[in-house]
Amino acid sequence: MTALHLDPALVARARELAARAAQPVVDLAHRHTTVSVERAVLRLAGLTGTDPVTGEGRTEDRVPWVNRVVDAVRDQVGLESGVALPVWDALASGTSLQGLAEQVGAGTARFQIPTGAAADRAREAARDAVGTGIARIDANRRRREELVATHGDPPRRPWIYLIVATGDIHEDIPQAQAAARAGADVIAVIRSTGQSLLDYVPEGATRTGYAGTYATQENFRLMRAALDDVSAELGRYVRLTNYASGLCMPEIAVLAGLERLDMMLNDAMYGILFRDINPRRTFVDQRFSRMVHARAGIIINTGEDNYLTTADAVDEAHTVTVSQLLNETLAKEAGLEDWQLGLGHAFEIDPDREESFRLELAHALLARRLFPDAPLKWMPPTKHMTGDVFRGYLLDGFFNLAGALTGQGILLVGMMTEAVVTPWLSDRDLAVRNVRYVLNAAGNLAEDFAPPSGGFIDRRAHTVLTEAVELLGRIADHPEGLIQSIADGTFGITKRPPDGGKGLDGVVELGPDAYNPALELLEREVSRA
């Protein structure tokens, strides 16, 4: 395959600048906690269920006990020390976590920050409780490894990634199984629009989502079980993906680990840029969530593709590269390894533009060379898809070809109805046939693909890398680094000020005696990494 070579000095410089640009964000994450991080701790300790007196009947509208407890703690003693100390201090009396939650519901629970020996006991008890959750995550990771060993991995790269999104878990399941039988290696269940703005994780098996299905622990469990069945049937381990980014990143990461999801959409900036979630909130949440993913052996998928839906894919190509480098830095700091980094990029150049296909190849090759050991996630055309479904089917074919020519790791299958509806059963089936044709007929064309150095593709790749390094330089030089550049609208031409957006009130600066048993247990992981 191609000989595209990148200047190693330039590449090294890019990584060093990315690390510097991200440092302020890492420091910020170390100094703060959030309501969702604390709720995640309680979930790891096994607290589930919702307060029956809340919501409008539908379980998914009820407030989970983890929210009630964290809010109660916050009201009574604040969160500066985290929930673990006051909660396990309260449990010393012998009540169960569930029991305590019900007291909170009844308004009878009283919290205090223990000190001295009481604090030590609370810490220890909390560590044990959370340890059981971590143990379950570890068990799931081993279980995955066993299943992959028995059923086997997909026969070839790229892995075929398909989305289901009916809004109804009971429609999603047969469609996901059909997709797997049709050849999907990875199934993603997209969330109901706007779930990412809920400051709680709904519960139960849900049937009422819009353009997506609620991400709930029960939905995770049902779908994973259904995919385990087809995996056995097909003799190929079919992976399950969902979405972490949003106001509940840490909790969803925990649920993903507890229910053996295999991949998670987890981007350090997506929630900020595309859901207007407060930057500080997101940066604290993403670090915790990624530490959990690291432990769970989950592959993360980042969301650079989204930038190209609001910004021009050629003019802003370098911002994708910059974001990939930042996501990489932050992911590694949180303990993720190269094989877990499904860095995103997309085929979003205006198809009417001269040389559009070769420009796509140049961008895709750049990413491939820059992150040789990461399973890059290659996203299909969306922005320039129209109601002309014939044209759309053709574009998706060329997207598939670009994926094969440039050795992408995960191929999100494009739908001819992208501009029309959330995928139909038949759209998905036709889309997989498209992928199958391209990979069978032309999958090895990479052997004959050799962009000459100094040629169009080679020149374009170098231009983008150079622009990316320049931008990283500007970001790194700013005291607040990344946070400032986001405020300036660097990514997806969307401006997000540090104190704007949703969920800021859920961010708490940590006090001296702060204690988070989950972090403590997971840090080991990080230091191992």
Binding site: A165, T166, D168, E171, Q175, T386, G387, D388, V389, F390, T417, A419, V420, V421, T422, P423, W424, L425, S426
Partner: protein, 248 residues
């Protein structure tokens, strides 16, 4: 999938009735054309219909892609299926049935009539090479098969059939523009009725655009469509030409 006998098209939810359609209207692109497209979609039963794409073709035409839900229900019980009314036989069963039931070889003539020169289809049925892994009729010891090839005129064919005392005449029609295949088939049926009346050979026609259900109204004994295999045809011939008790 529901097991009730009433179903609707399936987009992504049971019962949503979703369909895709595309067409061109001889109307210049613009709001009027969009409205016309919606009107047509509605008449087709698509409500609500979404005109998701349109573009001008030349000056006076507009191409449309429409998505939406059709109100129609499909009644599976009302579906008339040409269920195969005869068993699929193996080569040896077929040879056996003919030998014992007919105690002579079955004479089969094949041809493409009219100006149709598409022989691949009839060859697939007749030639030893066959189709979809099944060998063609020529491979059957007890059948005397003559493939007359393409562009045979109806009179020629009638004459040859009479001369050969054909039990069955198999014809292929692939070109369907202006319903040429239907017209040619009717013409063939009429000519044989005319020339041989009751004693006419079994008439079998096939081609990718035939609806197997339309045999009767074309005046032939049997119609085969898309993806027919030689085995189906041979089995049918035995069923239709060999005294029943024997072929059982």
């Amino acid at each position: 999938m529901p097991d009730g006998s009433i179903v609707r098209p399936y987009g992504d939810t049971t019962g949503d009735g979703m369909v895709q359609t595309s067409f061109t209207l001889p109307v210049a692109a613009g709001p009027r054309a969009e409205g016309a497209a919606l009107q047509l979609a509605t008449k087709m039963g698509i409500e609500p219909a979404m005109v998701v794409h349109s573009h001008a073709i030349d000056a006076g035409y507009t191409f449309f892609v429409v998505y939406g839900s059709v109100k129609h229900l499909v009644d599976l019980d009302a579906v008339v299926v040409e269920e195969r009314a005869y068993p699929l036989l193996s080569s040896s069963e077929i040879n056996g049935a003919i030998r014992t039931g007919l105690n002579r070889k079955m004479v089969v003539l094949g041809a493409c009539i009219g100006t149709d020169a598409h022989t691949v289809g009839i060859d697939a049925i007749l030639n030893v090479k066959g189709f979809a892994g099944e060998k063609g009729l020529e491979y059957l010891r007890e059948m005397a098969v003559t493939n007359l090839g393409a562009q045979v005129t109806v009179p020629e064919l009638v004459a040859k059939a009479r001369a050969a005392r054909a039990d069955a005449v198999l014809i292929s029609q692939v070109v369907t523009q202006k319903d040429a295949h239907l017209r040619n088939t009717r013409e063939l049926a009429a000519a044989f009725r005319e020339a041989m009346g009751e004693s006419r050979p079994l008439l079998v026609v096939g081609g990718p655009r035939f609806d197997p259900a339309m045999g009767g109204d074309l005046g032939v004994d049997k119609v085969f469509g898309r993806g027919t295999t030689p085995g189906e045809v041979a089995s049918y011939l035995v069923h239709a030409l060999v005294p029943q008790k024997e072929s059982a």
